[in-house]
């Protein structure tokens, strides 16, 4: 690193470098997806994200460090595929915060950071002596963003969660499933993804506020609260009409009551576990679809109006399935879409990743260079910027991979001192 940049770093400022967030430094304690997903976005747009991890347990607070999937037979905290996916373009250092010297180094890093981010259970950072008041004393304009399942206050403030619990408690699991049946849920941690997005939003709002006023703040994010904002019309139906979602015929499966559409669903195609989704937005869409189907039942008058199609929805879906189930899902998709009606095959991972121009032409699966795993494809970002495009090239950090670099470039420690810190188990 050039001397001038290193000096600027030691003053706590990052000079503009043409990237969107190149002036931002983040002291990052996040892990898993709900936290690491947030700082992934910021790192891809140029923020310097320094992950601080524990050398004693090899960063395994973030269990994804050593969790399926793996590229080969190697195991250990540097080989988790999910960790790599969520931590591209970040730096990783180790710091033993059980020691006073470790805490001292963290204080030096915080003084040079714009943001401290974490998604520990409520109160953990405070217990280490780095709660809001302590952080503020180190740097008056610090932006501190904590993210946990229920937030730091309230009756559930000490309860533990992970994605599926957050989804259950916020109404999202309930609204995914067939009517009068066990909930199907989301099939993955939708709220770890989305909680990470709300954390990124919170950090960005906080950074803009700070840019405009010079003020920092503590943002206490509760993933389940964020989740609870994602079923707005259903909640208003309750507060305005006293009509609960827990009632017969709800949730609606793959049908659509808002806006009302029919047919609107997912239908079997030829083969094992192959499906096509079809949505008729209007009578005009239905008329087009009826022509594509080209069978006599489809031109019956009863189906011409939305009211008729909703009334006979069970029969309509049975007829439609009889038509789709003998066909290949992609050929059905092609015929319906070419006619101008929304339809999409339910794509398997291989189909949407390897064979879909909607993702490949976008450049959605960049390949990163990971120091031990080698070249691995990861999730890219769904936005392209004309002037400050994202960059995802470097893999997630191995445990302590950037410790020496950060100690020397950011804090100005010399080689002897760094060697001593290694010897003493501080880093």
């Amino acid at each position: 690193m050039a001397g001038a940049t290193a000096n600027a770093n030691r003053n706590g400022m990052r000079p503009p470098d043409g990237t969107a967030l190149g002036t931002v430094r983040i002291c990052d304690f996040t892990g898993q997806l709900a936290g690491a997903g947030a700082t992934k976005w910021l790192a891809a747009f140029g923020a310097e994200v320094i992950r601080v991890e524990d050398p004693v347990n090899q960063g395994m607070w973030d269990v994804l460090r050593n969790y399926d999937p793996f590229v080969d037979d190697r195991r250990g905290p540097d080989f988790g595929g999910g960790f790599n996916n969520h931590n591209v373009e970040k730096k990783g250092i180790t710091l033993n915060l059980r020691t006073e010297r470790g805490k001292e180094i963290l204080r030096e890093i915080v003084k040079r950071s714009d943001v401290v981010s974490e998604n520990f259970a409520a109160g953990v950072l405070d217990k280490w002596g780095f709660g809001w008041e302590a952080l503020r004393e180190l740097r008056e304009d610090i932006l501190y963003v904590s993210n946990c399942g229920f937030g730091h206050t309230g009756p559930y403030g000490r309860y533990k969660t992970w994605g599926p619990i957050v989804q259950a408690m916020s109404g999202l699991t309930f609204t995914s499933g067939l009517p009068d049946s066990e909930p199907a849920g989301w099939g993955y941690s939708y709220m770890d993804h989305t909680g990470g997005m709300y954390m990124a939003l919170a950090i960005l709002f906080g950074l803009i506020h700070k840019q405009r006023t010079g003020e920092g703040q503590w943002i206490d994010l509760s993933c389940s609260e964020a989740g609870l904002t994602l079923n707005g019309p259903a909640i208003l139906d309750w507060t305005v009409n006293a009509r609960p979602m827990r009632r017969p015929d709800r949730p609606e499966g793959n049908r659509s009551a808002s806006p009302p559409m029919a047919p609107h669903g997912i239908f079997a195609c030829r083969g094992d576990d192959e499906w096509i989704s079809i949505a008729c937005r209007s009578d005009a869409d239905w008329a087009v679809l009826a022509t594509v189907i080209g069978e006599s039942w489809a031109s019956e008058a009863r189906w011409k109006t939305l009211a008729g199609r909703l009334e006979g929805q069970d029969a309509l879906e049975a007829k439609l399935t009889a038509w789709t189930e003998t066909q290949d899902k992609f050929s059905v998709q092609r015929r319906i879409v070419e006619a101008g009606v929304p339809s999409a095959a339910v794509q398997r991972p291989a189909e949407r990743i390897d064979d879909d121009p909607g993702t490949s032409e976008w450049g959605l699966w960049p390949e990163v260079e990971h120091s031990k795993m080698g070249r691995v494809r990861v999730d890219g970002l769904p936005a392209h910027f004309s002037k400050t495009e994202w960059k995802i090239e470097r893999g997630g950090p191995c445990v302590g991979e950037h410790t020496d670099e950060v100690l020397s470039d950011l804090l100005g420690y010399d080689a002897d001192e760094i060697a001593r810190l290694h010897q003493e188990g501080i880093v």
Binding site: G177, S222, L228
Partner: protein, 438 residues
Amino acid sequence: MSALEGTRVVELANERIAFAGKLLGDMGADVVLVEAPGGDPSRRYPPFADGVTGDSNAPALATSAVEAAEAERGAEPDSLYWWHYNTSKRGLVLDLEREAGREALRALVASADVLIESEAPGRLAALGLDYDDLVKVKPDLIHVSMTPFGRTTSRRDEPATDLTLLAGGGPVWSCGYDDRSIPPIRGGGNQGYQTGCHYAVMSALTAIFHHGVSGEGQFIDVSMHAAANVTTEMSSYFYLVAGKTVHRQTGRHAMPEPSMPVQILAKDGRYATTGMPPRTPSGFGDLYDWLDSLGLVPQLPEAIFLDNARHRKSIGFAEIGVDDEVTAIFSAAREAITLICRNLPVEEFFNGAQRIGITVGSILSPEEAYENAHFVERGFQVEVKHPERDEAVRYPGAPYKLPASPWAISRRAPRLGEHQDEILAEIGIDAAERSEVC
């Protein structure tokens, strides 16, 4: 001061992008919603406020209810869908098919910082209103376009809805039941649109921050299909990293190999979600004590393993299948959690388990979550004034709490053309010309 106070956002009304405008408006941006003559179609989406339509959530009644309401009193149908997605916005009508309407939009954009829209690729260019045209009146404009497949891919003109985006984009593949003869399920609540909007707003904020540093604006192309694809957690990276395909399972993560069920029907007919065992030896002991206090030990002979576990020095997942006793302990814990849940109302089970450190959840409906004491105490319920109604309406509250720059709903969703004169006056279109814009 709100984070976005003083930032003006122009939004071209479209059901796909509406949530992005709300997220920005609720954080203090001055969001100006531009609708075509006749108003955005989502003004007519159910559910409706009662008194207008009866059981308006029944889809068969929806369209006729709207027509009846409009015929009866020329009234807007009081769509709760519209109300929710359009808080903190002001609205006007511009006919972009007319030159005066386009001229007004240019003037509006010149007065603004950000444009968000979800127009079909090519439409704005044909109208002379795309980024390249608009930078002539606003050189540092931030223009966020969010479309189903982005502006540049060969799929860009394909029609899409929330359902087809989630089906083609990956989430639906992971979502459904163990019984694979049942179709996979689309999670409810427009999450395909909302996920796209989360990324659109992250993009807008990233560009606003960059503008604060450099003074420059830019064009941003968001693909909702791409957004769904990178919001699938393990489904994508199991394939990317190891070439493995996950398969859906009731109420739990889709995985390459089947896992044990985790949803349990509690005594009151509601479901809990479980699957996380105690973390420490004493945690297993606490579980035994809970079982004992409910008189359930006689129903579970294996409970003895839990009682014994409390005397161990440590216990870990890694020993399952290796150490017979550890395997038996974890198995007994699963049985004990299931047995307790079946014998208690779900809320009691949830609190009891969490109090001894076992991570479980209660599967709440949206209204149950909204009325839950935890969220109520944290101030999640907020009231919004509707001048036409006697009482304020309770809305979902803040997704994040920024003490120095608070989230707030500044006003209810606009009626059609509600701020027409006010906004046109602000951008210097005088009264004589105003009738020309729509």
